[in-house]
Symmetry: C2
Subunit: 208 residues, 2 copies
DNA sequence: TAGATTGTTAATCGATTAACAATC
DNA sequence: TAGATTGTTAATCGATTAACAATC
């Protein structure tokens, strides 16, 4: 791992790797900065700068060796050991947000949901599903370190406390409840309500 | 609506309003900038600056009038008419991400999911649920303008095209597929995979 | 070689925060 | 009044992008 990379660089490195994994299955073995930048709709200088920060060099003519780059990104941002992730209540995210929007506070309204499958009881392949009452025990048993939390706000506080009370190290928080976490637990917040309000704001802007 | 507010300011205004709606139900009618800043874990100057941008004034002694502030935020960021939102495939978000992580590309593994209800067939109160095959027609019929898209990447492209082919004005994109949108359709991307990788990176950093 | 790309520094841009006069 | 807060400008900070020498 390379310490002290800027937060946005880490995020982009993850994107570079994924693009390359998906878009180059045995294809050309090299890629230029402008091509990679183009795939991500960012500036080529950005790509070069990010790769410089992780000490990865390309060939002036051929560009960057894709396989080596994928490997190098892993060495830069992946941790030394496997980490398990739990998803808590993602299915309830829409419901949680609906609680807010379908009130008279907002000019937005969640009117419809669509679902890909008829039988939502079907589970993920290779992923177990448990009732939330077993969450705390299983997080501990299974040594889960990262949690994606998306539950209605009425239950968020209580469930977050239970999570904090395990050995979890990071929480991606989709609820709009503030999570008070002890030293050593990283919380990243994504507030879907404010994002939707922001999105709506820009759809309402007069065309430039 | 106030035109040309910075994107981050719009997002924060949305957060101010929600905090005040939830935390001040008939309580004190005024709030100081440092108190509001504290609720959101931001800098008081930020609050004052944002409110200055929407032309909202407080009282030097009492602070800001909460009811008036909530109203003013609405005038600044809410659009002139109601806009409907559709959620597409949120229930499948975990599955979509699992596809990626539970492979050998990553050192992360989605090991467990938890679910709040036994009977996930239960629908949102007041929100209809349809099969995705009816999506395009219903988006048009119901005049839905905003879509939250969270489907497995294998279907993302095809479904996104269908959405673009309606009168939708904004998409909050949880898939990691790039959506090519025509002029006038705002796409905001949230890549959960790169966020999780970033989160993991920081959990693996040596303690400062 | 000529032309194109990398690696890296410096400039630019935008967002956050510090500072403080004005106010009551 | 004295002390605290607002409103606003200027300084700071960090991230993005432009520029270009070095390279092959």
């Amino acid at each position: 791992m390379i310490v002290d990379l800027p937060s946005n660089t880490v995020e982009r490195l993850s994107l570079y790797r994924r693009k390359l994994l998906y878009y180059y299955p045995g294809d050309k073995p090299f890629i230029h900065s402008h091509r990679l930048a183009n795939l991500l709709k960012i500036n080529p200088a950005h790509v070069r700068r990010d790769l410089m920060l992780i000490g990865f060099s390309g060939d002036v003519h051929k560009g960057y060796d894709i396989k080596k780059l994928i490997k190098k990104v892993g060495e830069a941002i992946d941790g030394p050991t496997y980490q398990k992730i739990a998803f808590v209540g993602i299915g309830d995210m829409g419901r949680a947000v609906a609680e807010y929007f379908n009130s008279d506070h907002s000019k937005l309204e969640i009117a419809v949901t669509f679902r890909l499958r008829e039988e939502p009881k079907e589970q993920f392949p290779e992923v177990h599903c448990y009732n939330i009452s077993k969450m705390k025990d299983i997080i501990k048993q299974e040594n889960i370190e990262l949690v994606v939390l998306a539950v209605p706000r009425s239950r968020a506080q209580e469930i977050a406390s239970q999570i904090i009370d395990t050995n979890v190290k990071g929480i991606l928080n989709f609820t709009s409840v503030h999570i008070e976490a002890p030293e050593g637990v990283y919380v990243e917040n994504f507030d879907i309500i404010s994002r939707l309000e922001k999105l709506a704001y820009f759809t309402n802007m007069p065309k430039k």
